[in-house]
Symmetry: C2
Subunit: 230 residues, 2 copies
DNA sequence: TTAAAATCTGACCAAATGGTCAGAAAAACA
DNA sequence: TGTTTTTCTGACCATTTGGTCAGATTTTAA
């Protein structure tokens, strides 16, 4: 579920040359360059935000002349949009663990661990997304936001179902999702604070393991009825 | 504990005129204008980040000509620094609830509620701080970071003390603090996501109450020995 | 009233930045 | 091989922006 969808036909390809040589399956050059640009852009956007990032920087980091970036993307916003688009997939990939007939504890633990794993491996992407939200979601399409809302609603319903079935103690499902999201997100977005708090120069896999265990032990164990189920 | 320290002698006042008329107690004009500038700056920085905010905007929002902003601050970074400085105080104000001889449940609940209250009332400030951290804490002084580390260490020790005294179930205190910080922070920094998740146009006091109750009910109740002990 | 200090401001500027473009290479195709 | 399409790029430009400054205005001190 790690969606490596790098290089999908980018929105504003170019107006000068219609591009997209053979339908949709790009060969090599285009795909490779677009991927390079997006990778460099992700790193830079995560560090310096949208306004703080110069396309000249992106170009340099991607090993291309600036004008070449404009060959593939029509504007800086176009590059940013492409970066954001890749993130939405990650948003609910982790949530896929939460299904109606799954065991609540297993499902939520799976979600937490997937979320933390994502935080560990894709901190930069996460931070771009976080900045975008903090800044007012100015570039997030209405469609994408609606999608996130829908996903939340679906999973809230699932959790409500668990509660109704007596598989979970009563809890506001939406706030529960926010709690889990917030806790796990912290390790990616505020990695610096987490490092300071843990007094470590860098978060290692072991730290994420402890984090997962702590979250699971405290949050989940209080929600899943102890006696009956495992 | 809401520290209204607006208008303290700002770092780079001006080099042209030494300023600070009578020692430290500013009369009116300076204090008022500095306060206006910082307020406008906070709003704008929270929405558009450091690079995205133009000092001309700040000036306009503060109702002053741009050059006047430069009379009080030596540079854009100087303004930003002043805004950041005000936030550090908030950082541990909420943490003041956590003291060694307090009742763990009361203390942690107090912390959570104070944190959420802060999120509710000072979302903008919180978002500036969040952006700063996400962007790599480029403008946060070493002293301030050390301070935050120290505060965390102190409170982690307090929590460890509670555990040793059998007043709290064993838990990694640092991760616990991160959890609480992350959950509560979410409502401020990612207010947009929280609104979407709760399907509300705006977070109202009631939402924060439910949030507090949910956090307390799930996290804290699993940590504080209910009757006998663990 | 007068001198000095503090505050204010319009006009200005050098540098940086997003974006353009004409035409050169390089591939793909016939 | 010739031609068409795609890719690449140096040079260029209009605009924006952080920051400056000299002098005007107001406030405080004597």
């Amino acid at each position: 579920m790690d969606g490596d969808g790098i290089g999908e036909p980018v929105k504003g390809d170019t107006r000068r040359k219609p591009a997209a040589p053979d339908g949709g399956r790009e060969d090599g050059v285009r795909r490779r360059n677009v991927a390079r640009i997006l990778k460099a852009a992700t790193t830079l956007f995560s560090r310096k935000g949208f306004e703080g990032t110069r396309i000249a920087e992106i170009a340099e980091a991607a090993g291309l002349p600036k004008a070449n970036v404009y060959y593939y993307f029509s504007s800086k916003e176009d590059v940013y949009d492409a970066v954001i688009k890749r993130l939405i997939g990650d948003w609910d990939a982790a949530l896929a663990h939460i299904t109606p007939d799954a065991d609540p504890r297993r499902a939520l633990e799976g979600y937490v661990r997937a979320k933390l794993e994502h935080a560990r491996k894709h901190g930069e992407e996460s931070r771009v997304f976080a900045s975008e939200i903090i800044g007012g979601a100015r570039f997030l399409s209405r469609k994408d936001r609606q999608h996130m809302r829908d996903v939340t609603r679906t999973h809230a319903a699932t959790i409500d179902g668990w509660i109704a079935a007596g598989k979970l103690r009563p809890v506001d499902p939406r706030h529960l999702l926010i709690m889990l999201w917030g806790m796990t997100q912290f390790y990616a977005d505020f990695e610096i604070l987490a490092c300071d708090a843990l007094e470590q120069p860098k978060l290692r896999r072991g730290d994420f393991d402890v984090a997962a265990r702590t979250i699971v032990d405290t949050v989940l164990s209080s929600l899943v009825p102890q006696q009956g189920s495992q």
